[in-house]
Symmetry: D2
Subunit: 317 residues, 4 copies
């Protein structure tokens, strides 16, 4: 084990560029070990050699390494944005339709949904994110544009788009998500038409962003709800704390416990190979490497974040 800086270290004293560089070197041997998601063709084509990492500080500094400005499909990372927006729409009423507990099962499981009357365990499993998408579909005249506006503002990058080819591919291979929406609708936990909910959902899962975008865009969660670039109070501090708590307990699929154990940061992953973590009051950090581990999280990305917290001692615990 490395000796992390003592508790009294000042964040200002870290040499972040050197730390990112060291991690970049160390992960090289792991890049080839994961498996690129192949359930949709568009994802399967991304080369496993890609690796990027970005650290966005509360003071505005952004440190990057590797392919940190390559756009990729953010997939489930987008569930944090949609949750933030849905909470803004209907507040705590969301929690009548969706739980806040880890699922203990794979991320698109129907089992618990059946036992628990169509109420998903949390907003980060697919079922929960589809309920969230239903809220957006109902609340906004143009929910897809609203999502684009939100994400572009958070990242300070107006070139962010949803990839139509990925979206089409998701829809074509999305019988399991369609099953989830129909099933929840049979429990009256979906208001909009099934295809509208899926349309909103696939749109935000298909957003293309890069590591620097992602780190910047999560800063409001490290900053008591306030966006740095736009100075907008996106959500109140209590809600930022709570979204962080949800990410820590439910943000990395079935591996949330293990991820908290090793990394110790609230984080959200996507099958495109991205992971974004929050260091409350300090920074947001993102990593991208397309090879996934058996739980669907970026293999080298997880190692990189683990190394980061070891090298810096920066974790919530």
């Amino acid at each position: 084990m490395d000796t992390p800086p003592t508790n009294d270290s000042k964040v200002e004293e870290y040499d972040f560029p050197a730390i990112l560089e060291q991690i970049h070197e160390e992960v090289q041997e792991h890049l080839d070990k994961g498996e690129v998601a192949d359930y949709i063709p568009a994802l399967a084509e991304v080369p496993k050699s890609k690796f990027g990492m970005a650290l966005a500080m509360l003071d505005g500094d952004v440190y990057t390494v590797g392919d940190a400005e390559d756009y990729f499909s953010i997939q489930s990372i987008s569930k944090v944005y949609s949750l933030t927006m849905a909470l803004d729409c209907i507040g705590a009423d969301l929690w009548k339709r969706c739980g806040r507990e880890p699922s203990g099962n794979s991320f698109n499981s129907l089992v618990q949904l059946e036992h628990e009357n169509g109420i998903p365990r949390n907003p980060f499993i697919n079922a929960g994110a589809l309920v969230v998408a239903d809220v957006l579909a109902k609340h906004f005249d143009d929910p897809k544009q609203a999502m684009l506006d939100f994400v572009r503002a958070r990242a300070g990058d107006d070139s962010i788009e949803s990839d139509p080819e990925v979206k089409k591919s998701e829809a074509e291979h999305g019988h399991r998500n369609a099953a989830l929406v129909h099933f929840m609708r049979s429990f009256d936990n979906i208001d909009s038409a099934v295809e509208d909910v899926l349309d909103v959902y696939y749109h935000h899962c298909s957003l293309r962003m890069h590591c620097a975008d992602l780190a910047r865009s999560f800063l409001y969660l490290a900053n008591r709800g306030q966006c740095r670039h736009s100075d907008c109070q996106v959500i109140n501090p209590e809600r930022a704390k709570r979204i962080n708590a949800l990410m820590l307990t439910c943000g990395t699929y079935d591996a949330a416990g293990d991820f908290a154990f090793h990394v110790g940061l609230p984080a959200k992953s996507g099958v495109g190979g991205g992971i974004v973590g929050v260091i409350p009051h300090v920074a947001a950090i993102s990593v991208w490497s397309p090879g996934l581990d058996s739980k669907g999280n970026s293999l080298a990305g997880g190692i990189a974040l683990d190394r980061f917290t070891q090298l810096t001692g920066l974790s919530v615990f």
Copy 2:
């Protein structure tokens, strides 16, 4: 929502006695709402009007309110001590026999155990704590004395004992735990005799401690593994971080997600009505109120900790 102190507040500036006093008043109306655990007679007799709270600072100060020096049965809170000791015995080998993921099911569920070949989900559900007890039964000549020594040293209180009446009562009503041990033994995940494992387990569940004891005894987890009173480095900083992570994701039964969402601290609860939380690098905090909510956690205790983090802004998120 209360406005918590800003991020720049110094812990030294809080008026903790006043905060504890305020919480003490606020929880009075909730004391009667929970249900005292009645599965063993000895627990059922404790009056619901009891409430105590203690805050042990890293600098040695301990603030208390209410019945903070009444001894009570710490029950599952003891699983944190036994886990710490078992990790000291066999290190990371423990994780071959026990997972680190939230269970998503009730705390003594056999379902997952069956699906997952006798490997419990985490060391805080009963099955996992029984594996931990098996490690202690095998490793120590006198595992019960070793536990007493450990707990007394951590709390700085040599009068701590295991309650023989409670222990006897647990054993008599413990067919479900006996089922768990037999079942895991059928998967070769138990080495010692079934009755020896249960003996160690019931002994530590029956420990009697008070709030001040509990808060002091958890300080090593807030202090990078170092005990304040004894100056002993109980475990290394990495392991302290990891036990905190496990408490946050798995420490409050099925309600861990919700507890993280509301309170935002690593914590471990027991059906005796105690809860202990860790504020990394700052303090340990304990609360006791015998009335339980539907998940088996102290109802007023949960409210008290929620209020504490709201009033102080002290949480890991």
Copy 3:
């Protein structure tokens, strides 16, 4: 317990009209106890006072009592016809896509489907019947007309139709069935378009027949595969035996064990309140009463069949 006729009784010696009359009287007190299926409006309107029963002998005689010629919605009883047709289309290949075991769970459960890779437990739970419908959708140019032709020929009643209003209502309230088809398609166990499968399925569930129709139409299963009216060898004797076996183990939802225990006949029920049973080598028997028990089988219908086997000693055991 009544003393049934001895084993040496000749079927010719029974006074079936008197037996049916006796049962008709005895069930009157039970007609009101069940609950009419209300998940679709068209079913909810049928009066609970209705009761009919028909016994079709291999020699061509048909005995009836009560409302035995009132048409009603046969619902899941139609799954026996569709299974017979699908076996004729693809033979034992069907069993690669569908099991032959009781499900042990409610009739539209997704749980086992998830654990067992999209292979339904048996052809009489909804998931299995949807796989069967997929076979018909693929095999026939006009699967709905083919079903009508089959059923009319078996019952010798050309006026049998599918009720368009019931079918429309089923489709509107059928999100759970849609979920099942999408879900199985995600496992590649559905070939046709989701809506085509549902169209075939809802069409045959919405068939309207009466007790005399039903009893006559099941005679081929009592007669080694040969239809009495049409003299057509519908299926070979081995297959008839096997469909009977499936009805006995899986034909009455979660209550198949109990139904075998009490009645002891292969039988298939529907939520419209109909049940049809087979007495191999002797007869087919049907009953209709709209009030359902907690398992979804006709309450008075089950009692009537139980009484029939007690009074006659005719059961497979």
Copy 4:
């Protein structure tokens, strides 16, 4: 497919010795394919080349082939005897403590037991048989002697014994059964001491009988409850019918549906490689071959019974 005799065949006209001989030859190639149960050493030693078969007719004739008089461990076949005895002790009250439905899960599953409050699905899964053993433990002064008396009388063989070595071995490897009893006791569905229940259970599972014994001993179930040898009315006809129904729906572990589909007889199997079937009003038939299929039923035994019903057309369907 063989053409079975027509429905009008008289049982008297079959050449049973020739049929058994033919089957004996046909199964030779399958004897090696199964796996001998190895969870207890005493069972693992039996050679896979063993095969015996016996047919006991209601008129007293017994036809045998192969190793039909080799004693072997009857294991779960004994659950039919214990069920018969328990029903005699407490009648239908048994069904308050045990269901009558197929389990849909493996034969010693704890899952359903947990979901269903400690009430086993049926008396032939281990949990159910342990409840039955509890009834015997409570009802008889010497339940093991009572069982021996019952079995010897049914088989007309006073040399039947329980194998002490097998029983000891079962107990030593029986942590899963011990788990089941403790677990059901936690739901108050066990009255006797855990070790007494296990003692009764392992005693009857360890009974040694041969094929001719087994076939003769099941004749009461083919003969409306009356034992042929002793002329004793063991149970009334209704109860015999019901035990047959239970065997058909639940008698061959997870394969009951498939077994009914292929063989079409009420039957009970044991992991010692024995299977006994009932042909109501005609005969009882037994087979023994130690190699098991993946579901725990004798592989060649299942094939032999399948062939028998094909060659004779004798099945309940």
